[in-house]
Symmetry: C2
Subunit: 366 residues, 2 copies
């Protein structure tokens, strides 16, 4: 029996909030993506989410996404046609139709791009992804970590410019696709890691679309009931593959540095303690929040989640929205085991970002 | 009746010298390319050149070339397999086999890359090209000037990395392909402007492979006979579509500036007059020699040829070989009418290079 779930407008709001949380600052503004999907619902289309275990082993699954600096994206609302063109190019390459699409990452706008593609093409969207959060580069997907080739990748922009890329490895694929996206205007739409249902089940992080919706719903309902949303969220986590989380700091942003460099948003936030939290926390950013140090001591480190939230509203804050003077609460959350294996840490652990500190699970940091 | 011409080692030497002349300083070192073709002959392969008028109207012709900064190329001798992979990708796209390949430009190494592809694949090489010289960018081809789409273009490097590019126009195609070539290591191999035999006949500059060989042979034979090679060359031109040429300066290089910028070799040569020639000639370079000014007055301007040759040996000197102290003779040569039409000048006339001076034919400059 194949069970599917049809999303409504309330689901999309929950998803956007949960994806902003899982984006750990990056991945673009999920509310822009939500508007795109809402338009699909308003057009009478169906957004049908399918459990990964219900995808046949021999089915072709083609993930779709946006690629580029989120700072550029905010100024350019996408239509969805670009990602569809990229998916069609991969179908032409494989000589067969896709059974489903899915997210490459669950953080930010890329949690919603495949929903638009699926709704417009009448394809189900697999409830799983390849990052379990947001990451800045395309080789940083569990698909690639566990042996799937990301190539061919197709990248398309709103003018129909496109490039079908084969890289000798997934890092070269990322390098060439990034260059194309930059020359296409800073933001473009991709299809990549075309794979069988069996490979998708083996290499993906499962049920993360529904996880994002649960996180969003949990925060919304706690606020509706006038409960503390941070407490509610931390109580929810043990029921999910993201088994543990805690608040690592509360304070006020006293310094914010941010620039776009080689297609990435790179920066650093400094937060001064408040409400009984002492010291200065410094969070380094490459699209996403990578490492949090308190007075020089590591308090949380990639790939575990580092989420900066508004202390008053409990809204997740993306990198672009961070401002001097904001009062914020910083959470860190443990990621699932599939994202902490030695192979996974080789690709998107600290050294994948040029950090010299070793990975230490958040639950082991005292 | 279809007439073809099989090239031998002596032809290749003449071709290399003639292509160095027609390269007007750019297009890479044709002697590197000659070695690649000689290797084909040594392997028992045939280099078969076909007249453009002998190509059937409905045949598929796929031009092949190298792309990148010539300064990088000098350090990387290509195998030919990269250009073949690009041609095969275009065949797959069109769903049919190529009848022939051909040069996109007749200057420098790109006069020989298609000979290697043709020899290795058993395809004839059309005696024609799309630049009638060398130019730095891929939209600067008569194919595009007269309506042919350069897309899809395939670019491949020696590691098998590749990108199949569709640009909204030929300039965007160039922009994306250039970015890919830079990220692939600075030098890669392309197939582009796949077209019918009829379109090739309408838009190409015909018989330029044999023209390059005639120029090379003329220079060689004049030296063998102890005649003045410059005089011999200027006597040959009226018999060709390059109907006019003259010496515009003789002198000594007193200053040479050269750098690689955004994938191009950009520079400037200053030449002080000798042998009765007074003043200071300044030649501006973007891969090729673009404009020659004598004490600030234009003496020759793109697309007419500006060729810097060794005053003693009459060897054409490429941009990379220009050195302080060299004694040089500068020739300018009129290009065929197909390269001087308003549409052609729009693309590769002075304004195509950001020069403010209008095009003035060399035969009208007093």
């Amino acid at each position: 029996m194949r069970t599917t779930m049809k999303l409504d407008g309330a689901d999309l709001l929950d998803l956007a909030r949960g994806a902003a949380f899982l984006g750990t600052g990056g991945g673009g503004d999920p509310y822009v993506g939500r508007l795109m999907v809402q338009q699909c619902l308003d057009d009478g289309l169906t957004v049908e989410v399918i459990d990964p275990l219900d995808v046949p082993d021999d089915a072709l699954v083609i993930p779709t996404a946006m690629m580029g600096a989120p700072t550029v994206l905010v100024e350019k609302i996408p239509s969805g046609e670009e990602a569809i063109a990229s998916l069609r190019a991969l179908e032409a390459h494989f000589g067969r139709r896709a059974f489903a699409t899915m997210p490459i990452e669950i953080g930010g706008i890329n949690s919603t791009i495949p929903l638009v593609v699926g709704a417009r093409l009448g394809l189900p969207i697999v409830d799983a992804d390849g990052m379990g959060r947001a990451f800045p580069e395309l080789q940083m997907e569990t698909f690639g970590v566990y042996g799937i080739s990301g190539s061919p990748l197709c990248v398309t922009n709103e003018y129909g410019d496109s490039a079908l890329i084969h890289g000798r490895d997934n890092k070269m694929m990322e390098w060439l696709a990034r260059g194309a996206a930059i020359r296409m205007g800073g933001c473009a739409y991709i299809a990549e890691y075309g794979m069988s249902g069996a490979d998708m089940k083996r290499t993906s992080i499962r049920n993360t679309l529904t996880l994002a919706m649960r996180i969003g719903r949990c925060l919304r309902e706690a606020k509706d009931r006038h409960e503390n949303p941070f407490d509610a969220l931390l109580r929810l986590l043990p029921d999910t593959p993201y088994s543990y989380g805690r608040i690592i700091f509360k304070g006020k942003i006293v310094d914010m540095r941010r620039e776009t460099r080689a297609g990435f948003s790179v920066g650093r936030a400094r937060i001064e303690g408040l409400e009984g939290w002492d010291g200065l926390m410094e969070i380094e950013i490459q699209n996403e929040n990578l490492i949090a140090r308190l007075d020089g001591q590591v308090r949380a480190i990639v790939p575990d989640l580092i989420c900066i939230m508004d202390s008053e509203t409990a809204e997740p804050i993306t990198t672009e929205q961070l401002r001097f003077g904001q009062r914020v609460t910083v959470l860190s959350v443990a990621v699932p085991a599939i994202m902490r294996s030695p192979e996974a840490l080789d690709v998107f652990g600290p050294k994948g970002f040029g950090l010299t500190e070793p990975f230490t699970p958040i639950e082991s940091i005292v």
